[in-house]
Symmetry: C2
Subunit: 376 residues, 2 copies
């Protein structure tokens, strides 16, 4: 057993934690760019509340909200230009996964010139970033718990992570209260994404004792909360569990990476703007069915955290959960066509080579085409 | 559930990891002070090996070895003077807990003028430190996994931690191979110290989900390895488990602090230079007996990791382990006299107020005197 562990995250977790955003941000400068969505954080009053907290702590702020789901590298350059024009000292991400990833990428772009794709594909050495503060409003991505920012290049359709410890947030304010405004459709898909992070990190060949502990606990917490919350039951304790599991998912992939389900999903959401969690819902059961015999002990551990017996009822457990959260869905319903399969399968080996390599089975390109076909 | 999590440790774990010490140290400068003991690292050839690795990576080194068990603040000033005279860029700690704590404290003193006691008792704000690299040769203290350095002031006998994220090692090289040279007497006491770290962090009112996970896993790993290794059985897998558990213990107290057993032991080793793990062996069963009814669920979880059933056989499990590792010992055999009890009980409230406050029971001074008396 040889491993390294270095995940310098800084979490402030709990109901009401968002109230600290002003005081904590003031430690990093006088001017913040707030990256947020065009919708929910404004409607819910969260943005106004954050702006007020910042102002009361002597921090000026400017808002950047031109970020799409599956954020594009081009919108990052736009954010960088604004951060420079406004002389921002820090970047605050207030929103879901796309928003947090955009905030991280803007903070990075502000200190690293040129095409982000060169950094993503490791053609240029990774530099520093502006200080980043994150406050998630969805519990799926776990971006608050790692140094990844998933970006899509609109020219190529490549969806791939920028990965650097320099884009680990200086502070992540993880407040379960902020999750309560999610529509049910969003909740089910982000919650399933969080589950996939935990399961895939645990399956990864890069797994190590600390990522294993965190990932398995995350699976258990999701089993104890997600279906209840999607069904409209569950109270503060369940919101805490799901929110924590999401951060745990982000931390566990920060340590161990993702594996084949994420690797095979990225080309789909890169190409057709599929909702990431829904894409995973279509692909994960199929990918796992073809993988169990290669890592039965690990699948048994996962299954038990999902209320199952051993590796043989692991996929059944996942399918029951998908039914319970109303997310049993194929790729076709999400806009993927049979004719996309060849491009997606080839793209997998371009953008997801590392994730495929971490998986317990090494799938060939033909097997990946099969997996897409069976998930339509 | 409200908590914060920030433990920016950087671990390189595994057999052979020590071979990286030169290459990794070179990232932090050209001149290193190696803090090490007067005995084992020299005899075993480890010091010579580390010096060679450093030299091959272009790092000059100077050795400081005037450190006692339960290191004194005065020896830290001596180390600081040498580090300054030799213009060292970093401090490398190569040894057990006392050595690592001394290395951390020297790195801190090199950047913070005046009396260390002022920083320990929070009368002065904590500053930066020279980069620290640690390589433990005992598996007990867990100092490689946190920002604590326990020091003793020879004028007052106060034994208390300097605590700052600035003295978290930039890199901890945790190589189970280095543990194999420990004499059995040392192994049993450091291993029991590691167990206490995990148990106490789990019992602490500052505990949180991540410290709980790490601490409970540490208890399980020690149960699976310590008695075998002390008995002369057990191979590389057991050494890995015990070594990892020790780092986990350090991490878990870094997050959640220690509780009453450590709090009550420190005055004993501050006063009479008791071996810390042996002092804990005398005190822990008694302290736990008086605590179980205040946190039965937690003691049951601990007990189960030790092979027990529930909270009722927790102390029995600990006593069996102490028998198995030949560490069933009272305080009297360790030089503590009945007449020391009043001073020790009073000193508890001076140096261990925080640890006592984290404990599930708030002991009065008379109860603490009783605990000492029953542990003689």
């Amino acid at each position: 057993m040889n491993f390294s562990f270095n995940l310098p995250v800084n979490l402030l977790f709990g109901f009401g934690a968002i109230g600290e955003i002003g005081k904590k941000s003031a430690m990093y400068g006088k001017k913040a760019m707030i990256v947020t969505g065009r919708g929910s954080a404004k409607k819910s009053g969260l943005l106004a509340k954050a702006e007020l907290h910042l102002e009361q702590s002597g921090v000026d702020s400017v808002v950047f909200d031109n970020v799409d789901p599956n954020p594009l590298t081009t919108s990052i350059y736009e954010g960088k230009a604004l951060a420079e024009a406004e002389k921002c000292d820090m970047v605050i991400g207030l929103g879901g996964g796309s928003i947090m990833d955009a905030a991280k990428a803007i903070a990075f772009a502000a200190k690293n010139e040129g095409d982000l794709t060169d950094y993503i594909f490791a053609r240029k050495p990774l530099g520093d970033a502006l200080p980043i503060i994150l406050a998630p409003t969805t519990c799926g991505t776990g971006s608050e718990g790692n140094g990844f920012a998933v970006l899509t290049d609109p020219l190529t359709g490549d969806k791939k992570s920028l990965r650097s410890n320099s884009i680990i947030a200086k502070l992540s304010i993880v407040d379960p209260e902020l999750m309560k405004t999610m529509p049910k459709r969003v909740l089910s898909s982000v919650g399933f994404d969080a589950l996939c992070h935990c399961m895939e990190a645990y399956l990864s060949s890069l797994g190590q004792p600390l990522s294993d502990l965190i990932a398995l606990e995350g699976i258990k917490l999701i089993h104890e909360s997600l279906a209840d919350l999607c069904g409209g039951f569950g109270g503060d304790e369940e919101w805490e569990k799901l929110t924590l599991a999401s951060t745990f998912g982000g931390m566990s992939i920060g340590l161990a990476g993702v594996t084949a389900a994420h690797g095979i999903e990225h080309p789909a959401s890169g190409l057709r703007n599929v909702v990431h969690g829904a894409g995973l819902a279509a692909l994960t059961p199929t990918v796992f069915e073809r993988s169990i015999s290669h890592a039965p002990v690990k699948f048994a551990e996962i299954s038990r955290r999902l209320g199952g017996r051993d590796e043989r009822d692991c996929v059944e457990g996942i399918r029951s959960l998908l039914d319970a959260i109303d997310l049993s869905i194929g790729l076709k319903e999400q806009g993927i066509r049979e004719s996309d399969i060849d491009w997606m399968a080839e793209n997998c080996f371009k953008v997801s080579a590392a994730s495929l390599a971490n998986h317990p089975v090494k799938f060939s390109i033909d097997e990946i085409k099969d997996l897409y076909r069976m998930s339509l």
